[in-house]
């Protein structure tokens, strides 16, 4: 199942791209996917090294790392927000 990943702010700069498409299983959760991405290169391992500083949105809704991917179309990965 295809999933569009989008990166923002420090995470975007660390992985070096705005986003990418990956194949995922609906039964996986976000943490599983982060583990898989971190395993694929030093760059991703570094970008995702401090999991406490990662936040997520599935189809534009804030969720926690244990959220199932289900049939989501887009996963956003970013640091804690700092607007206002």
């Amino acid at each position: 199942m295809p999933l569009q990943i989008v990166y923002f702010a420090r995470v975007r700069e660390a992985v070096g791209i705005d986003g990418e498409q990956v194949e995922v299983e609906a039964c996986n959760n976000i943490a599983d996917l982060i583990d898989r991405l971190a395993a694929q290169s030093e760059l991703y391992a570094a970008a995702f090294s401090d999991r406490s500083k990662l936040r997520f949105a599935l189809d534009q809704k804030m969720v926690r790392a244990d959220a199932m991917l289900d049939d989501a179309k887009e996963l956003a990965i970013f640091p804690p927000v700092t607007g206002g």
């Binding site: 534009q60 970013f78 927000v81 607007g83």
Partner: protein
């Protein structure tokens, strides 16, 4: 009335306040945040998540309207680069009663700080670094739960 705007252009908070007054009520509370020159900051840049930002701000305003009896809720948030002294964010709430307008205004800015997908980068001349989220912002927002 809910008015939510995300824009790179600067804004005139006085004009935004005047516009909300036309809604016609008893009490209006507003908050404006500006770029500060802390520790030699010369500018900031705000990145956001375009597909999500407006909906998240609208959700904050809608939540405020469900908690308090408001005739209007306004949120204007800038994106992109802006210099010290420029306005960054404006929120305002209009209600028949002062307590509701004041509470809703504080809620809008406190909740926006932890719910809306914006990320702030500070510039000191050419040097740029991402601003860290503050635990105190989470704590303030949690006070509304």
């Amino acid at each position: 009335m809910i008015d939510v705007r995300i824009q790179s252009e600067s804004f005139d908070s006085a004009a935004l306040l005047a516009a909300l007054e036309l809604v016609g009520v008893g009490a209006i509370a507003s908050f404006t945040g500006f770029v500060r020159s802390d520790d030699g900051v010369t500018a900031i840049e705000l990145e956001h998540y375009p597909a999500m930002t407006e909906a998240s701000l609208r959700a904050v305003a809608t939540e405020a309207q469900s908690r308090w009896n408001l005739s209007g809720a306004v949120i204007v948030h800038r994106i992109g680069k802006m210099a010290v002294g420029e306005p960054v964010v404006f929120v305002a709430a209009a209600s028949a009663h002062r307590a509701e307008a004041l509470a809703a205004c504080a809620f809008l800015i406190d909740r926006l700080k932890i719910d809306a997908p914006f990320w702030k980068k500070e510039y000191r001349g050419e040097l740029a670094h991402w601003v860290e989220a503050k635990a105190s912002d989470d704590a303030r927002a949690a006070d509304w739960d």
